[in-house]
Amino acid sequence: MAETKQSNRPLSPHLTIYRPQLTSMSSIFVRITAIAIFALAIFPAWWLLAAATSESAFAFIDGLMRSWLGDLVLFGATFAIFYHMLGRLRHAIWDLGYFVEVRESENMAIIMIIASVAMAFLVAIIF
């Protein structure tokens, strides 16, 4: 009765053998973008501290962030931050009980991708 039984029941499909779908991939990307922004968050904080500290400290980090590499990273970060924001908006909509059908979820995924890329370009062009 109390012995640990070895189960022969079928297991749910594991991530590595599961066919990539728009719903699952868009959800995984929400997590990836979160980890990326988390790591990159040190740069605006460093930049602000440098601005509050000295001319030379500011010149270094400001130069780094405004170099071509800095521009590229900031563009990617802008996309990531908006993608993650919209991903979490989708979760909030699901949690409130709306648009939980597969078709609707996929439509929201497409909107997330288009809107976050558009926002990244918009910010890059305007500022």
């Binding site: 109390a2 979160a34 980890i35 040190i42 605006p44 501290l49 010149a59 979490r88 910010v123």
Partner: protein, 123 residues
């Protein structure tokens, strides 16, 4: 035969009994950040590119100051929950504990650095 029922064997093995709070907090910060993130991105993008004096003058103004303070706190704690959830899923044992501690230390450090910088600028 051991005098343990199936239920007794399962008690304590499952839920950490704290998932609902984590989930609710995450929903709250998700919704709050829908407002904060566009404001933060626009103010930060606007200020980037100025000289040091211009940046200091900009963040001494109440609106960008408050937006940035709020985004630092709400945003970093939100991202900390995101990262903790990922660590709890994929890292286990001692490595998991150390990763949870390290990421929490990192998040608190970023918040402190940002707030101290803004305090120096604003006051």
């Amino acid at each position: 035969m051991r005098f343990l029922t199936d239920r007794k064997r399962a008690v304590g093995m499952g839920s950490a009994r704290e998932g609902t709070h984590h989930h609710w907090q995450h929903l709250v910060s998700s919704i709050l950040l829908q407002v904060l993130i566009p404001l933060f991105v626009f103010t930060f993008a606007y200020s980037l590119g100025g000289t040091q004096e211009e940046v200091v003058a900009y963040y001494a103004r109440p609106f960008p100051l408050i937006v940035t303070v709020l985004t630092l706190i709400v945003g970093m704690l939100h991202l900390l929950r995101e990262v903790h959830e990922a660590i709890e899923d994929y890292v286990h044992g001692t490595a998991q504990k150390l990763a949870l501690v390290a990421t929490q230390g990192f998040a608190y450090t970023v918040i402190a650095v940002g707030l101290i910088a803004l305090a120096k600028i604003a006051l």
